[in-house]
Amino acid sequence: MSDPLLTVEGLRVVYRVPGRRTVEAVRGISFDVRRGRCLGVVGESGSGKSSLARAVLGLEERVDGRIVFDGENVLRMSRTEMQAFRRRAQMVFQDPMGSLNPRLKAGAALAEVRRVHGLAKTRREAAAQAADWLGTVGLDAAYANRFPHELSGGQRQRVNLARALCVGAEFLIADEPVSALDVSVQAQILNLLKSLQETRGITWMLIGHDLAVMRQMADEVLVMKEGQVVERGPVDNVLSHPTHPYTKELLSAAPGVRRALDRRAAERAV
C-alpha cells in the first residue's frame, strides 16, 4: 500500500456573509489520498465539496486545520514553496471554456504556463514543447494553432489537462470535469483521466454528484452532506453496502436506464 501524498486533518472552511454571521462550509473533515490513487468526493450542491477542493489547493482564505502535501503544510508555505506547490497540484474545472483564455491558442496557453513556471526560457522553445504535451492528452499537434472557440468541449477539456500536466502536475483535483460535456464525449475524457492515473501515476481527487461516475473512476469515496463526511470507504463497499441514510437516498435516486426500465416493467406487472 502506498503512502499518502495528501493528508488533511480537521479541515474547516468559513465564509463571512455580508450582514450575516459566518457560514461554515466545511466542518472538520479529515482524510488522505494515497499516491497514484483517486479519491472521489460525492455530494449535492451546497454540501461543501467544492469549498473542500479549493481549500486543499490553498485557494480559500479562512481555513482551519492541517493540509499536508508530500510532507509540507500547505497553510504554512512560503511564497516559493507555494509556487512549487501550485505547479505540482492543480485544478481541472467543470466549464472547459471558462477556464481557458479565449485569446490564446491552445499551444500558446501551454507555452504561457511553462514560461511562468520557468520551465521554458523562450517563447519559441515553449511553443515547440507544447505540441508534445497535446499529444499526451490525445490531441494532434495541429490543435496547437486553434483558439478555444474552435475546439469542441471535449477537446477544450483535453487542453486544460495538458496545461496542468505540462508544468509537472502530480496531483489533480477535477471538479465535475465532465458534467458540461455530451455523454459520448464524457466517456472519452473519463477514460483519459483513468489512463493518466495508470500511466503517469497521477494522484487525484474527483469531485462530483454522479455515483456511477465514481464507481467507474474512484478507488475510495467520501460522501459529504452539509460540510461533513457522512460515509467513506472503498467505492465498491460504499455503493454495495451503504450504511448512512443519505448515501442510500443518493443511490436510490441515481439514474440508470436499465434499472428504471426494469422497475417500470415490474410496476406494470402488478
Binding site: 471535449g154 455530451d182 466517456a187 456511477a212 464507481r215 439514474p255 426500465l261
Partner: protein, 308 residues
Amino acid sequence: MTASGLGVGYATGGGERLEVAGEVDLILRAGRTTALVGESGCGKSITAAALGGLLPRGMNRDRGEIRWAGGGARGPGKGLAYVFQDPGECLDPVFTIGNQIRESLPKEDRGRARERMVDLLRTVGFDDPERVLASYPHQLSGGMQQRAMLAMALAGRPRVLVADEPTTALDVTVQAKILRLLADLQRKADLAVLLITHNLAVVAEIADEIHVMYAGRIVESGPVEFLKNPRHPYVQGLLKALPRLDGAARLEGIEGSVPPLGRRPPGCRFHPRCALARAVCAEQMPTWTACGPGHRVACWACAEGGWA
C-alpha cells in the same frame, strides 16, 4: 397533436438555407410522455421551440405541418405550455411567485385568481401554497422554483406540456422528485408531455415513446423499452458510454464529436463516427426500417439486406 415532416431552416448571410432539424415526425397523445433525446446540437430544443412558434430570430419552421386533434392551429399559451431547464433564469426576481402565476391565468380564471393559484400550487406538491405565493424566487430552492414554473405552465390548462431539460439543473434527489411529479401530473391532467433531454436515464424513468435525434434527424423511434435493445449504432454507443453503478472497468466512448451545424456530413450523418459504416452510408441518407411494433430505425446496416 401531430407534427409531420417538420423542418427548421436557418438563413445564412449568403441567402442559403441550413437545415437545423428536418423530417421530424411526432405524435403527442393525451396521457402519454414522448421524449426527444439527443446530445447538444442535435436539434431537439429547436424542434420543441418550433412547435410553439418560439424559434429564435433567423430560424423558420419552413417544412412540414402541425395538426391538433379537434382542428385549428394553436400557439404557445393556447394548448401548449413550456417548462425550461433553469427555473432561476425563467422567473423574474423582482416579482413574487403569486404575481407571476397570476399573469399566466386565462381570463376566465381571473375572478377567482387566488383560489385557482392555491389549487395549482397544491397540484405541484406544495403543502403551504399561501407562503409560496408571497415568496420571491430567491427564497425558494431550485426544486421549489421548478415546481412553481410547472404551476405557471399549468395555469393556462394546456393540452401539451413541453419540458425542456426540466431536471438538468437540479440535484439528483430533487431530480427524482420532479420526475415523479411530472409523471403524476401527466396522468391526472391527461396531459401530453413532450420531454426534451440529453439524459437517457431520465427518459427511461418516465417516457412512453422516445425519438433519438442525431445532428438534426431522428435516427431511432419507438416505445421506451427499445432502449434495452437498440438497433442504431449511435444509440447503442450512447448507452455503452454511460457510466453504470454495476459498471465495467472501462467505458466505451464514441470516437469524435457531434458535427456542428454547417459541417454535417452527407449521407447518414453518423457515418464518420460509426464502426459499421460502408460506402452507401456516406452517399445516401438512410430510410426507415421497421424493427418491431412502433419501433423504427434509420440505418443502412439495419435495413433489409443490411449487415448488422
